[in-house]
Amino acid sequence: MFTMTSTILRNLLKEPATRRYPASVRPSFEAARGEIRNDIHVCTFCGVCAVKCPSQCITVDRKAADWSYDPSACVQCGVCAEVCTSGSLQQARDYRKPVRKKELVVLKGATTPPKHSDPPVTG
Amino acid sequence: MQGEIMDIGLDNLLGETARIKVEGYRFVTISCVEINEIRMELLYHFDRNFQLKHLRLSISRDCRAPSISPVYFAAFLVENEIQDLFGIRFHGLTVDYDRTLYLEKDVKTAPFCKFAVVEKSPVCEEKTP
């Protein structure tokens, strides 16, 4: 009986293991699979990401140069970024912030060749 | 596939199962595969010291199959599952949920079947296909 005593005393003397979350946030690990971002100026709209995505949350319209992504359907597996032929799809380290409404991320690219002087737009 | 596969019919299913149990096999599970509009396949998997043994039963969609749950009690769960998802009815189940294990009471379709099938009362019983 009472074998837990030493453990609870140790806990009392040490810092708590929990964090006051929104106030203190642990930095993400380097390898963490966070939000999917597409540099639409580099994207070639090849559509490989849309084909490979296991949750089919990406749709690519080649003619209209539209790339849309449903973050609430995404499972964060990172396959799309892995298979991306142009290297425009990147998986960020940080998670997407919570939102009040489900919404699609729709990115419109230029149908003309990419201009590298523009600042990259991320979504 | 690992292990030996035996084709059996509706009439010797229970006998084979009982023999397998006597041989000291453990019940693993039953897999149901939809072959075409009429045929279904039931695969009974057993295991003894990591040696698998499979019984393959080909059954018509509107047939009732005998339940092996009197032999292997644990089979009642998977047989109820097949009843729910594939619409094959079993008779002699030790615990029969009557297609309510996963489904609601008034569901008549079999959700896992590719060919839309509405449940009818079984026409043949324990007839060798």
């Binding site: 005593t5 609870i8 806990n11 009392l12 708590p16 293991a17 006051r20 | -």
Partner: protein, 283 residues
């Protein structure tokens, strides 16, 4: 008379207030020994305010009445304690309050509530005799059941009634619904009976039972403080140490079942009380 009026009002306000604050401190300390940060100190009050603001759903009239009766009895007991009244009277009024809580649970049809009420009865069966024995000890020491007589002592009662104080601690563990005795209901619902006794109380009625529980806590801790009545600092220290021990017990024990509680509670409680009483009598 005016002095009495002020005392009564103070008891009615400060009884639950103190109980609630202690509950808040309990939650912080419990969290800390479990490596958590824990809620703010005033969390119990926020909870009760939220409950009071909810829609009132009355399962049956009896239950609503019982919740009110429980609160009334618990408050009266605290008031009587502050008035330094008769100890036996206080204990009986407190017991009446608990009985109302049980009756309220029995009047609903939920099996969780029913079994919880049944277990609560068993708990009462376990701790009420022990409480009476403690009161008897106090009587043997002071020659009176009146609390005023305790305050007239020159020496802390604890020195003469050490074992009875332990028995009071046992009763406190049961009353505060701490492990290993959180059988009929517990502070969190991770129990086979979910919320047991309190399953069918909801919204404002649940808030009433919670306030009454604070009163009960204040009452029992007040009773504990009597054991070092000669010096307010001593009394405070004694209560603090007692409560720390309760938190300790809560965090190093699993929940037991009611058979164990009856056997252990009675066996241990009775033995300790008898030893103390015989010792007092023999001297």
């Amino acid at each position: 008379m005016i002095r009495h009026g002020i005392l009564i009002a103070a008891a009615l306000i400060f009884g639950p207030l103190v109980g609630g604050l202690i509950s808040g401190m309990d939650r912080i300390l419990t969290a800390r020994v479990q490596s958590r940060i824990g809620p703010p100190l005033l969390q119990p009050f926020y909870d009760v305010i939220k409950l009071l603001g909810k829609e009132k759903v009355v399962v049956n009239v009896w239950q609503a009445f019982c919740a009110n009766a429980y609160l009334t009895a618990a408050s009266i007991a605290v008031v009587l304690l502050c008035l330094r009244s008769d100890l036996l009277l206080i204990l009986f009024i407190q017991a009446v309050g608990s009985v109302f809580l049980v009756v309220g649970a029995f009047s609903s049809t939920s099996p969780y509530s029913q079994i919880g009420a049944h277990r609560e009865l068993l708990q009462m069966l376990c701790y009420e005799p022990l409480l009476i024995l403690v009161a008897v000890g106090v009587y043997l020491q002071t020659g009176s059941f009146r609390i005023a007589a305790v305050h007239a002592l020159h020496q802390p009662m604890l020195l003469k009634l050490p074992f009875l104080f332990l028995v009071l601690g046992l009763v406190l563990t049961i009353k505060l619904r701490k492990s290993p005795f959180d059988l009929s209901t517990s502070h969190h619902a991770h129990q086979e009976l979910v919320k047991g006794l309190l399953t069918d109380y909801s919204g404002p009625l649940l808030a009433l039972t919670e306030i009454a529980h604070w009163c009960d806590t204040a009452l029992l801790l007040g009773f504990c403080s009597l054991f070092w009545a000669t010096n307010p600092i001593g009394a405070l220290l004694l209560v603090a140490v007692t409560y720390l021990m309760e938190i300790w017990i809560d965090n190093v024990c699993a929940r037991m079942n009611w058979r164990w509680m009856l056997g252990y509670g009675w066996g241990m409680g009775m033995a300790l009380s008898l030893v103390n009483l015989v010792w007092l009598y023999a001297r």
